[in-house]
């Protein structure tokens, strides 16, 4: 059956050549606080958009509720600012219905991991081709400073004056455990890195989850300084690069080895270990991805940044179409009159 959606919308495509970052900005004033990590994320997204080769009208941003979820208003593409926690459920329906669209989700640690947690794990499991940008500021910011499921134990917030009792989720491990095929982490203070991660997410077919450390200057200022400040990050983080050993340190003099299944830091300068002894990152190795993700809250090892895992698996919306095509190949296009008559009918 011909449908007007195909005739009027899907079959008309603009030429993405010649798009510039400016084409993705609109006239609205961005209303985040000065110094908010959101700004960097926004401008890196706007910068990479023209490089993706995707017609502008095919790009849609969906969000939930929170500071981060204002994001779609600032992009001159299709935008859908929904309700708290539900962005992924809405985006899943949209992408399943419209595989021709490039669907992005802007969400936060509260929106995605708390009220939207169920939708998150199931979107990962289904491997819907969505790009999730999760702004992690380890706090509820829009409601003015309550702890989130990613806040740290002991953290003092308005609802935890004596310190947070909960243990946080480990977002990368949660995503991996839920079956996400692409899992990465970056931070606001490194624009080039974000651009790289966003491009990788866009190219990935299937669910792409990017956790972004985004500083909230008002309610949790400096939460990630230890990992993101220029003078500290070389010692406290390790960049994951496919096929490369895990080397870090201001002088590239440290590495991470696997001691059994436990990652351990070794010195590369005392002659005992060389780069050959270190963990070599492999984005296609799910077991390794788990080990790396579990380094997150381990103070004895650097915090991994970069792509934990990128594996190929058919995406959900693609499989939905395959099944429909299979059904049509096997049984022919549906005959509605026959369907309505069913197996047992009679004539009067």
């Amino acid at each position: 059956m011909r449908n007007i959606l195909e005739d009027i919308v899907i079959n008309h495509v603009s030429d993405p050549a010649g798009l510039t970052p400016k084409d993705f900005k609109n006239e609205l004033d961005v209303r985040w606080c000065a110094g908010c990590g959101g700004y960097s994320i926004l401008s890196q997204v706007q910068r990479i958009m023209p490089t993706l080769g995707i017609p502008k009208e095919k790009i849609t941003f969906v969000s939930g509720i929170g500071c981060s979820s204002r994001f779609p208003y600032y992009m001159d593409v299709y935008g859908f600012h929904s309700i708290h926690g539900r962005a992924l459920a809405i985006a899943s329906g949209l992408k399943i219905a419209r595989p021709d669209l490039s669907v992005w989700i802007a969400t936060g640690d509260g929106d995605c991991m708390s009220i939207g947690g169920n939708h998150f794990i199931h979107a990962c499991r289904r491997n819907v081709d969505l790009n999730i940008l999760m702004f992690n500021n380890e706090i509820y910011s829009l409601t003015k400073g309550q702890y989130s499921p990613l806040s740290r134990p002991g953290q003092k917030t308005k609802t935890s004056p004596m310190g947070v009792l909960d243990d946080p989720f480990n977002p990368a491990a949660l995503a991996l455990g839920s079956g996400a095929t692409f899992v990465a982490r970056g931070y606001d203070k490194d624009p080039k890195m974000l651009q790289y991660l966003f491009e990788r997410a866009a190219q990935h077919k299937g669910i792409a989850f990017v956790e972004i450390y985004a500083n909230c200057v008002i309610f949790n200022d400096g939460a990630f300084d230890n990992y993101t400040e220029k003078d500290k990050r070389a010692e406290t983080t390790v960049w994951l690069e496919h096929g490369k050993p895990l080397i870090f340190g201001t002088n590239n003099d440290k590495g991470v080895i696997l001691d059994g299944f436990t990652p351990r830091v070794v010195s590369l300068s005392d002659g005992k270990y060389s780069a050959n002894d270190l963990i070599v990152h492999n984005e296609h190795d799910s077991t390794l991805a788990f080990i790396l993700a579990n380094m997150t809250y381990n103070e004895d090892v650097p915090r991994p940044i970069g792509v934990f895992q990128a594996i190929a698996r058919p995406s959900y919306e693609e499989k939905v179409e395959w099944q429909i095509n299979d059904a049509i190949t096997k049984y022919g296009e549906g005959d509605l009159n026959a369907l309505m008559r069913g197996d047992e009918y009679w004539e009067i």
Partner: protein, 614 residues
Amino acid sequence: MSKKVEYLEQVTIRFAGDSGDGMQLSGTQFSNTSGIVGNSVNTFPDYPSEIRAPEGTLYGVSAYQIQFGSKKVNTIGDKLDVLVAMNASSLKVNLPNVREGGIIIANTAGFGDKNLKLAKYDANPLEDGSLDKYRLFKINISDIVKEELADLKLSLKYTERTKNIFALGLTYWLFNRPTEPTAKWLGEKFGKKPEILEANLRALKAGYNYGLNSEEMTTQYDIKSANLEKGYYRNITGNEACALGLVAAANKAKLPLFLGSYPITPATEILHFISGYKKFGVKVLQAEDEIAGICSAIGAAYGGYLSSTTTSGPGLSLKVEAMGLAVILELPLVIIDVQRAGPSTGMPTKPEQGDLFMALYGRHGEAPIPVIAASSAADCFAMTIEAARLATKYMTPVILLTDGYLAQGTEPWRIPPIEELPDIKVEFATVKEEFAPYKRDAETLARMWAVPGTIGLEHRIGGLEKEDYTGLVSQDPKNHQKMVEIRAQKVQNIANDIPDAELMGEESGDLLVIGWGSSYGAIKTAYEKLTAEGKKLSYVHLKYLNPLPKNLGDIMSRFERIFVPEINLGQLQTVLQSTFIRPVIGYHKVQGLPFKAFEIEDQLNELLANKGGK
């Protein structure tokens, strides 16, 4: 042997047995065959909510009731003319509903000591004279089928399983129905298993012949075919009618169809059916929860699909916030609520009309949603299409209320050729015209439907209040009032687009009955009976609950007394009282059961007798 044939106008029969006895199959076959011979039919399956209730117990009884007649039957019948009881428990549970002089066909093999004990009988009711008021036929069905199938290499357990087919064959003889349709159906079902097919065919024939040759069964009954409109017919449940309605609506709107849903009794079957329609290009998501069911559907609606979500009460509760989102986004969405007895988990398999308030008012803020209701199983088809028409024309979510009774009950449905159904006109916004996200049609107030992927129409929408026309986020006090009023007016405008309420009976007078939803059958039956007796009353059955039909106030003003029977504590009664500022008499049955026609009749008789005695 010569037998007498007696003609009847309508008959109510109930097949009852243990959950494992196949009563649902006997019932559906009997009802299909009765449809095929041209009777009007109305059915309802009644089975335990436990998946495998303990064998032989009172709460393990499964039944299927059919009323069939030579003129339109609107209910499954109040009192049973015939009860087929496969065991003691099924007799015990159903006997109170058998009319005096009614026929009881009892399988004596189901009345052993163990059965009697499970049914809490002290003595065997088949032997102690307690059934003297009825015409009792005692048949050891188990023994007969065992003998008939002795030469087939089948296990005893399997042989036993043909009891229901034997019972069916016997009722076919009793009511002079052909066995061929069932034989054909068995052939299709067991074509690949010749032994089993043979066993079932023999059981069917044995049952029929038992009646033919019985010394006791001296009378055969016949019901002439009803005077039905020409066309193709089938029996259909409300749930299947909803599923077909969605596919048909998408076809007429030239839109692809999406269903986002989560399994819940008694709505799940709609999801089952639609999941089987893949070759029609339908996309279905069995979501992780009720919220994702509706949210994914909203996503698909945003993407330009005819989109729907199906649920029952507890699921509707979970969908409430997202329904408000669909209201403010002004996106089309068909929400089907198959009501069941609540609150909370309530009685999942039992019908109720308890969700009317929730459908009308159950959202935060001013969030008007059109609400319509189907009045019979077959009507679910037309009303689903109507929900889709209103949703796409007015850019709004629409709630269609059905209930467990309509969902599982069947009636013959004249299958409309798809070409006969009117088109649903849908337009997407394109750059060819001036565009703004909340630019509205002057007449309907519907906004434009601009879907992602349309070149040049990039825009943002969301749950925040927005300025009219531009759709830009706005906290302006006056704008909010304006938007609230526009959204309310838009829904009110639908009153111009729906049929007037149809008044049956006197144009004015003393008593007007107003019903809604599945109680149509019972009220209509009672109404017809009383008017045939010359009593003066009138009847309106509402299919549109928000907005109400434009002429309803006028109709109501012409009657002294208004009577509203409902399967709740008076929800429509309250709506009518507050909308039209006048007292309305309610009748409330909240037992997880549909009305019986005589219950309405009794109420009406009482009201008519106490004229003026409000």
